[in-house]
Symmetry: C2
Subunit: 251 residues, 2 copies
DNA sequence: CGGTGTGAATACTTTCACAGCT
DNA sequence: AGCTGTGAAAGTATTCACACCG
C-alpha cells in the first residue's frame, strides 16, 4: 500500500473522481464484481432460466428484481457490472442475460465436483439434481468406510479418501465438497488441497485452515439456526419493549 | 469520506451510544449488533465450546480469532457489541463468553424446529445431530407422500403437510426448515407462515415471498457452486493475464 | 414516455492504532 | 508489559435520483 502514517499528509483526495488519478496499485482489471453481486447474479440466473422456459423473452428491472427478491436499483447495478445489455425504455432480453451471466460465472466450462463423506448429507448431495443439471457433474465420491467403497451412489462408485489425489487428478476435479463429520474435515481438506483442488464447499461445522490460493465457502446449519434464533429473541425483546412503552398494538 | 473539502461537513459520526446521550428520535435499540457480527458470534461460540471441553479456561483475542479464521481486531469488535467481558492484559474467560454469546443469540430458550420435505436432504436434516445438541430440538416432520406419513424418521413421526397449522401450534414450532422440491416450497412457506412460524430456513432453490415480519435465510447449493465457479474462472483469467504480461511466476 | 445505466450520497463493515486498565 | 475496548479511517455495499436514450 502507499503512504500511510500521515505526518500531516492530509488525506486530500476525496474518493478519486479527478481525471488524472493514476492510482499505482490499481488493478486495471474490469473484473471488479463485488462478491455480494456475484451471489445475486446466480439467483438472477435461476429466475431468468425459469422465465426462459415459460417463453418470456423480455423483462424489466422492476419485474426481475421483484422475482429475485431485491430492489430494482440493486439489480440494475449488479447487471451493470457485467456490461450494458438492456434497452432503455424496454428492459432486458432474457436470453441475452442468461448467456452473459453464465459467461461471467464461468458456467461455460463444466466443473467436476467430488463429494467427500457419504453419510446422510453426502447421499443427498450425490443425488442432488441441481448439480449436474447446471454444469456441475459429480464425478467422484469418497469415504473411509470399507462397507461403502465400491458401492454406487447416484451412479458413481465410492472411492477411499486415500485415493483422493489420484482420482481427483484423473477426473480433473475442480470443486471439492466436504460432508464428513467435523473431526475428519480438516484432514480431508488438506488432501483435497494437495490434490490441487482450489475450491471447497464445506458442510462440516469447523473452520478450515487453507492456503491463500484456495477458496472456501461454508454452509453451516448450526450457524444458520443460531442466526434465526437471534432474530426470534430480538423480536421477542422488541415486542416486550413496545408493550411496556404503552404502544397500542395495531391489528 | 470523513472530512473533505472545507465545507464544515461535520458528519457527526454515527451510531455511537454514548452514555447520557439523549438522542431525540433514537428508537431505543440496545440490540444494534450488525448482522455480519451475529453470524460470526455463532462461529466463536462453537470454537469456544470446543475449548471449554478441552478445559481451556482463558483465551486471548489473538488465539481465538486465529481459531475462528478472522483477525483479532474484528473479533474484539464483535465481542464489544455484546459487552465488555475481557480482562485487559489477560484475555477472555471461555465460560463467560460462552454464556454471554448464548444469551445474545437467544440460545437460553429452546427453539422447536420442524422440517418439511422428508427426501434425502430432509432425512439428513432430521438426523442431524447438531440440532438437538445445541438447543434446536426437531419436533415435527412433514411431507405429502402417503407412504411416509406416520413413519418415524430420527425418532419423530412424519405428519402430512396439511397438518402443519395444528401440529406446529401444538408443538410450539418457532423455526421451519424447508427441504421440499422447488415447486412446493412457496406453498409450504405460506402454510408455515399462517401457522405462526416467523423464522424459516429454506433449502429449496426458489426465492420465497414472505411478509415483513418473517425472517428467511436460505441455503442454496447451486448458488454456492456458481460462486465457486466464478472464482475458478477468475483465477484462470488472472493466470492468463499474468502469463501474458511476462510475469515471472514465483515458486 | 418509460426504463436503463450510473455518478453521488448514504449506510454498513472492516481495519487501524492507541489510550487505558490489569 | 500486554491485551482489551474503541474512536476514527478506510473500504465495501446499497440506495437515490436523474441524465440519457430508444
Amino acid at each position: 500500500m502507499g503512504a500511510r502514517r500521515g505526518e500531516d499528509v492530509e488525506v486530500v483526495t476525496a474518493p478519486g473522481r479527478l481525471p488524472g488519478n493514476d492510482e499505482p496499485a490499481v488493478r486495471e482489471r474490469a473484473r471488479a464484481i463485488p462478491e455480494a453481486a456475484v451471489a445475486r447474479l446466480a439467483v438472477y440466473l435461476r429466475v431468468l432460466s425459469g422465465l426462459a422456459e415459460q417463453d418470456v423473452t423480455t423483462i424489466s428491472s422492476e419485474e426481475l428484481s421483484a422475482a429475485a427478491g431485491v430492489n430494482s436499483a440493486k439489480l440494475r447495478k449488479d447487471l451493470s457490472y457485467i456490461g450494458s445489455y438492456g434497452t432503455r425504455g424496454v428492459g432486458y432480453e432474457v436470453e441475452v442475460l442468461v448467456d452473459q451471466i453464465e459467461r461471467i460465472l464461468g458456467l461455460t466450462r463444466k466443473h467436476s465436483v467430488c463429494v467427500v463423506g457419504i453419510g446422510n448429507l453426502g447421499h443427498a448431495l450425490a443425488n442432488y439434481a441441481g448439480f449436474p443439471g447446471r454444469g456441475f457433474p459429480v464425478s467422484a465420491l469418497f469415504d473411509v468406510d470399507d462397507d461403502l467403497i465400491g458401492v454406487p451412489v447416484g451412479g458413481i462408485l465410492v472411492s477411499h479418501v486415500d485415493d483422493i489425489p489420484r482420482v481427483c487428478a484423473e477426473r480433473e476435479v475442480s470443486i471439492g465438497v466436504i460432508a464428513t463429520p467435523p473431526p475428519a474435515a480438516q484432514g480431508v481438506c488438506d488432501r483435497l488441497v494437495s490434490a490441487g483442488v482450489q475450491c471447497i464447499l464445506n458442510f462440516a461445522p469447523v473452520v478450515l485452515q487453507v492456503p491463500d490460493h484456495v477458496e472456501v465457502r461454508k454452509v453451516d446449519l448450526a450457524v444458520e439456526m443460531q442466526i434465526l434464533s437471534f432474530h426470534v429473541a430480538r423480536r421477542a425483546d422488541e415486542a416486550a419493549n413496545a408493550d411496556e412503552s404503552g404502544m397500542v398494538v395495531p391489528g
